[in-house]
Amino acid sequence: MGKRFDRVVVVGYGKATGNVLKYIEEQRQAYGYQLEFIEHELHALSITRKICEERGIPYTSMPDKHELAAYLCSIMEKTLIVSASNNFLFPAVCVEKENITIINFHNALLPDYPGRNAPSWVIYQGERQTGITWHYVTAGIDEGNIIIQKRCAIGPEDKAYELTERLMDLACEGFAECFAAVLEERAQTISQGSILGRRMYRSTEVPGNGFFELSEEPEAIYRLLRSVDYGKNDIFPHMQTVVDGVRVEVIRYRKIVPEKKKDEENVIFLPLSGTHLLKIKYRIL
């Protein structure tokens, strides 16, 4: 096999990054590239450092985006950068370097839902399916040519973190299918077509603007709460509403059967379709 890339650099965090990193390491001998991992966003439960230590992969923690940009721009060898679950925006000066090729995993079916927190937005908008996209990185956000896409259904009970996990698994599957073609520079790509005017989802945007009225359809409230549910990861602020004229924030919620209903302080119950109830525990602000 020919050696087209001298170096592969993985940037990202989380489960998808860990699995992609393992896959790239397994292919290293066949292709002869150097491999390194850069952790840009640090997470309390991350195990990517452990994976690097176990497999002898050089690991660097680089939380400062300017330092990361400068480091990537300083690379002189022919390099493939794999951006997996990564929120760092590669500067144009880096993207346009001739010796650097960057591919990125986006957790939606581009050209739809570009930007941040796509799993939240697809749930909030009531989509029935979504998926993942691996694409080449250009100077624009999520604009490059598509290398591979994989689809999955969105279930009526899916929470953002559950969908995110499935998308990460799909991302790993897709990566394994396209990595050889990317390395050998023979990947067949598809243009995203005209993307002028498409909505870009910003990190500062929150589904429902972070607020709901109790008079709204309970199913819509449930969908909103599921769409921003990443467990204890504070990607979004707590959703707020008004109970008896008092502003409150949601601490947790759950779909329950009526038999489980009991009087609790700072809890409201809303009827969902069928016989279930939406239990919302709140804190007064």
Binding site: H43, L45, T164
Partner: protein, 76 residues
């Protein structure tokens, strides 16, 4: 309380019940998504709030650590 914690672990991560090491995360017994489910169930079952600062690998290194975390939160 302990029995209830073990029931929750059995539902989301049966391997945790027999694991006798000290890093379920690093040993691949649980991942961050399983932790989210376990935290959600513990909060609901014991009507406690587990702040993000407690959701770290140390508090989920094995079943004893999880039980210890719940005990501390119930005492607060």
């Amino acid at each position: 309380m302990k029995e209830k914690v073990l029931e929750i672990l059995e539902e989301y991560c049966e391997e945790a019940l027999t694991y006798d090491g000290d890093s379920m995360m690093e040993d691949g017994i649980i991942d961050s998504f399983t932790v989210i489910n376990i935290v959600s169930e513990l909060e609901e079952e014991f009507d406690i709030e587990i702040d993000a600062k407690y959701v770290v690998a140390e508090n989920f290194k094995n079943k004893e650590a999880i039980i210890g975390l719940v005990e501390r939160l119930l005492e607060e």
